[in-house]
């Protein structure tokens, strides 16, 4: 029962202890003052309520000493709290020289993380226990906030300007990673996990290029992208109202509402991803987002590799509203914590097919940006 009512977040960084100390002192003060005010109010209103026979003689209306007391005591207490808070804050803002650099890019609605040695991850961050880490963050679109409750650290991720934050993890485990700043439709899903590993384990992970096991094949990473980019929101195992199925697409001949039929090959696939509206598959509208500028060539190649094997027994990643941004590919699973539990929850409620809310970019802004580019 008690586990349903967690009273505090895990404490897993160098700041947590000091943080909690200040927090609980503040809490104690709050309780003390609330109790003081509460008790006095109740006591007075009971004692002096109309009709009671008590001494009401010589009421006082002004009392300088009393006023000064309750001005100065809160003032001093406030200054003390300010001091401790500010001290912790300055620590939080002063990364040590030997901190490992990690770079964070926030975009609607995922975290893209790059380690200095080139390892990239999405919506997950792997760090070694006991090693200070400094994150340099920037956003590609709107404001986000990189928030790790267990570390008591948070910073806004701002477009056009770098912000930094640092911490030293002190406990092995998997922790929440959130986007704290409201950033649009899927703000609440822009999160993932922070995995703190033993230094040895972490070294292994790094050596494997960011996989706890061997690296993935092209089609495997394509499969991941397929869900990371939200393709699976529309393209399922069968043709639906929303989009045609891509299963077994390779090599077939397609009909279009606005072009003559063509055979599906790699360049057609590429075309369909980047500029889907040029050849609209009959029976469908221009609903597919334009991915031009959204995907790197590497990603496109991987996607195509995946689509080529689709239909030859490779499953389509589960569609859901949940964690469509990415499936952590690593020890998050190994640790037995399934980030997709709610996936099942939703399946149960038969909501696999909710309308996708993905909106990769504001179309108008994109259009302006594109126009501006051509100008220059």
């Amino acid at each position: 029962m008690f586990s349903n009512f967690p009273m505090s977040p895990p404490s897993a960084s160098n700041f947590a202890a000091e943080y909690d100390f200040i927090f609980y002192v503040l809490l104690a003060l709050t309780l003390a003052f609330t109790a003081l005010v509460g008790v006095l109010v109740i006591y007075f209103s009971a004692k002096y309520r109309k009709g009671t026979k008590v001494d009401r003689s010589r009421p006082i209306y002004e009392h300088l000493k009393l006023e000064l007391t309750w001005t100065i005591i809160p003032l001093l207490l406030g200054l003390v709290m300010f001091f401790f808070g500010a001290r912790l804050f300055i620590k939080m803002r002063t990364p040590p020289k030997d901190a490992t650099d990690v770079y964070v890019i926030g975009k609607q609605w995922m975290w893209h993380i790059q380690h200095s040695n080139g390892i990239r991850e999405n919506n997950s961050l792997h760090v070694a226990m006991g090693k200070p880490v400094k994150l340099t963050c920037i956003s590609q679109d709107v404001l986000h906030a990189f928030y790790i409750p267990a570390f008591r650290q948070q910073i806004h991720v701002v477009p056009g300007r770098y912000t930094t934050m640092w911490f030293t993890p002190t406990q092995v485990g998997t922790y929440h990673l959130f986007c704290g700043m409201y950033c649009g439709t899927q703000h609440s899903e822009m999160g993932g996990t922070v995995v703190v590993m033993e230094p040895r384990e972490f070294a292994e992970w790094e050596a494997n290029g960011g996989q706890s096991s061997a690296p993935m094949s092209m089609s495997q990473s394509g499969a991941k992208l397929f869900s990371a980019k939200g393709c699976n929101n529309c393209h399922g195992a069968e043709d639906t109202m929303r989009a045609p199925s891509l299963v077994g697409l390779m090599g077939t001949t397609r009909r279009f509402s606005n072009a003559s039929p063509a055979k599906v090959d790699e360049s057609y696939l590429r075309e369909s991803i980047l500029r889907p509206h040029q050849k609209l598959t009959s029976g469908y509208e221009e609903t597919m987002p334009i991915y031009e500028g959204q995907l790197t060539e590497e990603e496109i190649i991987n996607l195509i590799a995946y689509m080529k094997v689709l239909g030859s027994g490779v499953p389509i990643p589960a569609t859901s509203n949940v964690n469509r941004a990415s499936v952590p590919n690593d020890s998050a699973h190994a640790n037995g914590k399934d980030p997709l539990t709610t996936n099942a929850l939703q399946a149960e409620r038969g909501e696999m097919d909710t309308t996708p809310t993905i909106r990769t970019h504001n179309p108008s802004v994109n259009a302006i940006a594109a126009e501006e580019k051509t100008h220059k």
Partner: protein, 579 residues
């Protein structure tokens, strides 16, 4: 307070014929829509702000329903975002900012200072029309798809990315802002220039002080947010790239400008509540407010200091660390005047003759709830602790404690207290008392769990929280509380409306309270006083000792509806010795 005696004969005539008052002078719709009478405008505001409170509450109910499950119940994320934005925008700009000043303030300021009307009646009416136009616009926004930026309209989301009705909602907020500016100008001029003879500054009821301080904040702050939001519109509509990071603009600048108004705005919402609180505490404990001067000056201190703490909303927004430190320090300083008020009110109770009627119960509830809300504000003002708590439900809980537990509780108290004056009718105090308790319980049940959820790490503005499903229990508690709270807001609507129909008639001074507003008939005549009152006495001039004696002699006083109460103004009570 011995002012010119009021004409009691008018009140004593009984059922024969209702005396002329501001409500029944003219029943035509036109006379309402073109009125210059501050009391009528207050009534217009009362119904319009309550309408928006209702809308905002429906949104709140949807939020709470949605949050019972980590994966949502009925809405999509996009809709959810629009719902909480509508909730925030409506509750703040369309309900709480105008609620106390434009309803109670409009009604009471001229009455309390002994004026015939506000200085600029037509400006006052214009302000209401602006509010209505703004309201119509925001309704249009809701009807045409809503807006999803959060009530803070942060750039660059609002300026470059949101596809919702940002422009129209900003124009609505802009107009609502000017509506409150006009009210503010009116109050400032009226309080400076139109006080009755003998009504010196330190004889002003504390509510008037609060209205004055609020107005100053309004006129100094609101234009800044107006222009800031206008710049966002310029960016969306005319492509002026003021906050556009791609062209070298700074989106964080928006936050500075926004909070330059919006922090003071939280004091716009709480200061009038403080004023109401002072009136209630004094009049229901039959005692002059303890440390009147301190309470009055702390009001001014809050409104001045409140202007230099805005950066505390931006501690982690990439604001410079050094500046954050300064803002945090001042935030702790601004807590001190609030502390002074709380303690002075507590001390007022000491040796009072406390009547635990419904308005007083709200006032007592306010003491507890605002203290919790204010003190949790200190967690946020403290730099280190804010880093983790910002953007979580801890903040949501903090501001609902101060805004709902503080301002709305005070508003309810004030509404009950002045209801007889405004409508001339007495409501059922028994139900009202029970309901006051219900508000208190429901409120705590709703928002207390959110403190814990926030500390655990539940971010705000989250539609789904499957990423952190362990806080679900708190959300369910909170929703349960909100249901109780909902009931406790429906009940007053019922019994207050019913009192209009069948409530007993109120005498001029049903509470036996002090203040010029109680010296004219209930409801007052159009120009408030038959002749300009002359003030010769201090404010809240009660004598608790004689009050006590009087009570024993006269038990009927308990019933606020009893006409006998009319005569029981302070002076007429026999001044007795101690026990």
């Amino acid at each position: 307070m011995s002012a010119t005696p009021i004409d009691n004969t008018l009140l004593a005539t009984g059922p024969v014929e209702e005396p002329v008052n501001y409500l029944n002078v003219d029943h035509s719709i036109k006379s309402w829509l073109l009125t210059g009478d501050h009391k009528r405008i207050a009534i217009l505001y009362l119904f319009s702000t309550l309408f928006f409170f209702f809308l905002g509450s429906v949104a709140a109910s949807m939020i709470r329903l949605e949050l019972t499950s980590p994966v949502g119940m009925i809405l999509e994320s996009e809709t959810y975002n629009k719902v909480f934005t509508a909730h925030g925008v409506i509750m703040i700009f369309f309900f709480l900012v105008p609620a106390i000043p434009a309803v109670l303030g409009n009604f009471l300021v001229p009455l309390m200072i002994g004026a015939r009307d506000l200085a600029f009646p037509r400006l006052n009416l214009l302000s209401w029309y602006l509010y209505i136009i703004a309201g119509a616009l925001i309704l249009t926004v809701l009807a045409t798809g809503g807006v999803d930026t959060g009530w803070t309209f942060y750039t660059p989301y609002s300026s470059m990315y949101s596809n919702s009705q940002v422009t129209m909602s900003i124009i609505a907020v802009f107009l609502a802002g000017f509506s409150s500016i006009f009210t503010g100008i009116n109050f400032i001029v009226t309080i400076h220039k139109m006080r009755a003879p003998g009504m010196t500054w330190f004889r002003l009821p504390l509510f008037v002080w609060a209205a004055y301080a609020t107005s100053v904040v309004v006129i100094l702050g609101t234009p800044v947010v107006a222009i800031t939001l206008l710049l966002v519109v310029f960016e969306r509509v005319f492509h002026l790239p003021i906050f556009n990071p791609e062209l070298g603009g700074d989106p964080v600048l928006f936050q500075h400008l926004f909070w330059f108004y919006s922090h003071p705005a939280v004091y716009i919402m709480i200061l009038p509540a403080f004023g109401v609180q002072s009136e209630l505490i004094a009049n229901f404990s039959r005692k002059r407010v303890f440390g009147y001067h301190f309470v009055a000056f702390s009001t001014l201190a809050i409104s001045a200091l409140g202007f230099v703490v805005w950066g505390h909303h931006m501690f982690i927004s990439s604001e410079s660390m050094y500046q954050s430190v300064v803002f945090s320090l001042i935030s702790f300083l601004v807590a001190v005047p609030s502390a002074i008020k709380i303690f002075n009110w507590t001390a007022t109770l000491y040796k009072g003759t406390i009547r635990l009627q419904a308005p007083m119960l709200y006032a007592l509830g306010f003491m507890g709830l605002f203290t919790v809300g204010g003190l949790t504000g200190l967690f946020l003002a403290s730099l280190g602790t804010d880093v983790h708590l910002t953007n979580t439900y801890f903040i949501v809980a903090h501001f609902h404690y101060v805004m709902v537990g503080g301002s709305i509780t005070a508003f309810m108290g004030g509404l009950h207290y002045w209801w007889p004056k405004m409508t001339g009718k007495i409501y059922n105090d028994g139900i009202a008392k029970v309901n006051a308790l219900l508000v208190f319980v429901g409120f705590n049940l709703t928002f207390f769990p959110q403190f814990i959820a926030g500390f655990v790490g539940m971010p705000r503005r989250y539609h789904y929280y499957y990423l952190i499903p362990e806080v679900q229990a708190y959300h369910i508690l909170s929703t349960a509380g909100a249901s109780v709270l909902a009931i406790s807001f429906v009940i007053p609507a019922v019994y207050l409306l019913q009192s209009l129909k069948s409530g007993p008639k109120a005498s001029a001074n049903p509470w036996g309270a002090h203040g010029l507003e109680w010296e004219t008939q209930s409801p007052p005549i159009t120009f408030n006083f038959t002749e300009t009152p002359i003030v010769t006495d201090e404010v809240y001039d009660f004598d608790p000792v004689s009050e006590f004696e009087q009570e024993r002699a006269n038990a009927e006083m308990t019933d606020p509806g009893n006409d006998a109460a009319v005569t029981h103004t302070g002076e007429e009570l026999p001044s007795g010795g101690t026990e």
